[in-house]
C-alpha cells in the first residue's frame, strides 16, 4: 500500500499507477464521466446531477447533434440519438431537464466505439433534452427542446 502511494506521488509514472489503482477499486474515478456515481442518477435537478458527475460548466458545442422529435406524443417513449463530432469523445450522457431525476443515462465509450448513441427515454413534460459529452477530460453540451403531449413518468 505504501509502495503504491509512493508510486502515485512520483508523478511521471503516476498516470498508469492511478489507472491501476482505479481498476483495483482503491481510488474512485472523479473526473471520468464513464462510471458516474449512482448519486448522479438520483439528483433531482440538472445542477446537482452535473455536480455528482463531477462536471462543471460544460461548454456549449455545435459539434454535438441531438436527434429527437420536436413533438413527442407519448412521453413514455421518446427516441433520442446523440452524435458527437468532438475528437476523443469518451462518454455521452443524456439528461431530460424537467424529469424528476434528470440524468437518464450515461454511456462510456472505449475500444473503438463511435461517438454515437441511440436510445429511447421517458419524459415527464416538455423540456430540453441535454447531451453532455466528455472529450479529452473536458465537458461539452448541447440541448434540444422536445414538446411532450402526454407525460411518461407519472400515472
Amino acid at each position: 500500500m505504501n509502495a503504491l502511494r509512493r508510486n502515485v506521488l512520483k508523478g511521471a509514472a503516476g498516470a498508469g499507477t492511478v489507472a491501476m489503482a482505479v481498476a483495483a477499486g482503491l481510488l474512485k474515478p472523479t473526473q471520468a464521466l464513464a462510471g458516474v456515481p449512482r448519486s448522479a442518477f438520483e439528483a433531482k435537478n440538472v445542477g446537482d446531477a452535473l455536480k455528482n458527475m463531477s462536471v462543471s460548466a460544460p461548454a456549449d458545442s455545435k459539434d454535438i447533434t441531438i436527434k429527437a422529435p420536436d413533438i413527442a406524443e407519448n412521453g413514455a417513449v421518446v427516441p433520442v440519438e446523440v452524435t458527437s463530432g468532438i475528437p476523443g469523445t469518451t462518454a455521452i450522457a443524456i439528461l431530460a431537464e424537467k424529469n424528476a431525476t434528470p440524468l437518464v443515462a450515461d454511456f462510456g465509450l472505449m475500444g473503438g466505439a463511435e461517438a454515437y448513441i441511440s436510445t429511447r427515454i421517458k419524459m415527464g413534460q416538455t423540456s430540453l433534452v441535454r447531451a453532455v459529452v466528455m472529450a479529452g477530460g473536458k465537458a461539452y453540451t448541447a440541448a434540444k427542446e422536445v414538446k411532450v403531449t402526454i407525460g411518461g413518468c407519472g400515472g
Partner: protein, 104 residues
C-alpha cells in the same frame, strides 16, 4: 429470470452497427399503480456493458428514465464480419442478462 434480449450487429463500411432490445419493465419507483394507488417499486437496469471479441467498448449507467424494454444502438469502428459482440446488463435487484451476436 429475465426474458431474453434481442441483439443484432451488422457491418456498414468499417463500422459495426449494433442494435440491442432488452426486455425490462424499467419502473422508476415514482409511478403509482392505477388500481391500488400504491407506488410501484423501482425496478430498472442500472448497468449495461458491451464487448467486441472480449474487448470492452461500452460501459453505460442507466436510470428509470430509460423507456420500458430499453432500446440501445451503438457503433464500433474496427471489427470484422464474424466477430462476436456480447452485451450484458444488471438491474437494481441484481438480476443479470447477457446476449451475444456475430457481426454480419
Amino acid at each position: 429470470m429475465a426474458e431474453p434480449m434481442r441483439i443484432r450487429a451488422t457491418m456498414a463500411g468499417d463500422v459495426a452497427d449494433v442494435k440491442v432490445l432488452m426486455n425490462h419493465p424499467m419502473e422508476t419507483g415514482l409511478r403509482k399503480d392505477a388500481k391500488t394507488g400504491q407506488l410501484v417499486p423501482a425496478h430498472y437496469i442500472t448497468d449495461v456493458t458491451a464487448t467486441v471479441n472480449g474487448a470492452q467498448v461500452l460501459d453505460a449507467g442507466l436510470s428509470g428514465g430509460i423507456s420500458k424494454n430499453p432500446y440501445l444502438g451503438f457503433r464500433v469502428k474496427g471489427p470484422k464480419k464474424g466477430d462476436k459482440v456480447v452485451v450484458n446488463w444488471t438491474d437494481n435487484k441484481g438480476d443479470k442478462n447477457s446476449a451475444e451476436a456475430i457481426i454480419g
